[in-house]
Symmetry: C2
Subunit: 312 residues, 2 copies
């Protein structure tokens, strides 16, 4: 009995965070997954794999953030085309619960997204700080009270299993990373081969700790650069050690990458985010693993569970 | 032309963060405000002041988080009663855009919310760490892509001006805190008087820096305890210095409280949250100010702009 009688009462939502389960069997419990992707370029292989995910699509929300530059505009156009096809005219089972597309309000620090340019050591701090802010903007504005899991999936992961969500969730870990490889043509062997790609999944080393202890407060440790030998144990190099047969083999990690990383939503809700500033001399996804640890959550990785990065 | 033809396409939302303005004249620009309140007890004065806010209510979303214990249950019941009254049968102009109520999924670390108990020094780290997690859960799940400002307002602030949002926003600061006082009966003067309440709004001191530098990595600095004299400049003691006439007088701050604090949503979107772990030996709202600073955002306070805390 509203006095105006015109507008219906505004929504009041009541959520009991206790009732949001986060289990190793998320399908049975109808758990909501948020897939978050920072996207500078659109890759068809990435989208095709999203569509092939066997996790019920009505439980999946997709969130994207794209830079506000020429490349980002092109990727947005392509992404929207694919979304329209899936959500409007595709089979109902393919359709996702909801989709959020954000455009960044700050400029990417590098003029080019080419691999050579973006991997230069002197470009890392600015680049990864901007990536951290992009990930945080996406996370803070899309995570909901009923989200159980957040899957961080980079836009250039063009091969990943349809059971990715179930396979990672099965381990019931607060943070769990797949191992990111890259296919390439091995000119010596004269055939296609694969090589490790993501060096951000690692176990700490005394050398890295020692390096860090001598650094200025604003310096960061970087992985995968010859100039800065850390002697950390990289998950990327672990599979070859044991033959790589057991896809369920787990290792504890101190740093993680964001290429394919499943996170319990409670880790983020406690406040774990991607530091855009040096945090224990770590930044972005590596700093995130450390922050999660400070909040009591231990990261893990699956050395033999592989996803593949695009090769330019 | 959907093949199934039954269900309407799921929502796809496209947001351009560039188009979300954050200005000193938020009403003119139709800026959305999110008011966030951790609430252990319900106070009628708090709710009455929300209703009296002259900022257009259709631009205001309210978010609450309450503990899952007996006190929290009672507060939730009372809050829901007031919400129903306002949103369903109150005048249309009083109704807020939307309201989200969260119930915490972890227990408060202290059995009692009484002032004596909760202000004991040895209880501070556990209590404020839990408060930080509650604030983060609330923030991470309610902040949206179109939010311009977040007003942190404690549930026990029972006196605040109707123009609170406009007055604070006018200063165009990334973070700006009102000065939180408490009314009490001055037995000497035999009349009502007021005294400073929130000691978390401060400017750093060499003594505090020195104390911090000698602490273990997990120790925290606390303000307002005789055992730990920091010699920081407390905003709570500033008004008496200059007579307290100019409500627009600004001071820079290094630590902030959360009693009445207006934050540009971009500060949070960059990743600034409430550390539940010692961050530069600071925690919760004080750690938040430091984290914002690391992200390039400077906190401010208004020593002569007062709000009043409940007196038990
Ligand atoms: N929103 C946004 N996404 C970006 C930006 N730069 C890269 N990305 C995306 O972020 C993810 C990781 O970045 P990428 O450059 O591939 O990192 P690398 O593979 O570790 O060199 C990929 O999905 C990129 O498409 C940026 O400036 N803004
Ligand atoms: N959700 C939640 N809110 C709390 C809890 N404890 C206190 N609060 C609320 O958080 C705010 C600040 O806490 P309070 O105890 O008043 O802090 P103080 O005034 O600095 O001693 C107030 O709005 C409280 O009602 C808690 O355990 N959970
Ligand atoms: Mn990549
Ligand atoms: Mn209080």
């Amino acid at each position: 009995s509203s006095p105006g009688g015109k507008s219906k009462p505004p929504p009041v939502a009541h959520y009991n965070l206790n009732n949001v389960t986060i289990t190793s069997n998320p399908i049975e419990h109808g758990e909501n997954i948020l897939i978050l992707t920072p996207m500078a370029r659109f890759y068809q292989g990435y989208w095709d794999n999203l569509l092939k995910l066997s996790y019920p699509h009505e439980l999946i929300t997709l969130g994207f953030i794209l830079p506000k530059n020429k490349e980002g505009n092109a990727a947005t156009t392509e992404l929207q085309k694919q979304i329209a096809r899936t959500q409007k005219s595709g089979p109902e089972k393919d359709r996702f619960k909801s989709i959020i597309i954000l455009r960044q309000d700050f400029d990417p620090p590098l003029p080019s997204q080419d691999e050579g340019e973006r991997h230069k050591m002197q470009n890392q701090k600015a680049r990864r700080s901007a990536m951290a802010k992009a990930r945080n903007s996406l996370l803070f504005t899309t995570l909901g009270p009923s989200t159980s899991w957040v899957l961080w999936l980079d836009a250039d992961i063009i091969e990943s299993p349809p059971t990715l969500i179930q396979d990672l969730a099965l381990h019931d870990k607060p943070l769990i990373a797949a191992n990111c490889f890259q296919r390439y043509f091995n000119t010596e062997k004269k055939k296609m081969d694969e090589r490790p790609y993501d060096f951000n999944n690692w176990q700490d080393s005394p050398t890295a700790q020692e390096l860090a202890s001598k650094m200025g407060p604003d310096d960061i440790l970087l992985e995968g650069y010859a100039d800065m030998a850390t002697y950390r144990a990289l998950m990327a190099y672990m599979p070859t050690i044991d033959g790589g047969t057991d896809i369920h083999q787990e290792v504890p990690l101190d740093g993680v990458g964001g290429t394919a990383l499943l996170v319990k939503a409670d880790v983020h809700r406690d406040g774990a985010m991607f530091p855009a500033f040096p945090f224990y001399h770590l930044i972005e996804t590596e700093g995130f693993a450390k922050m999660a640890k400070r909040l009591g959550w231990q990261a893990s990785g699956l050395p033999n569970y592989k996803v593949y990065h695009y090769n330019e």
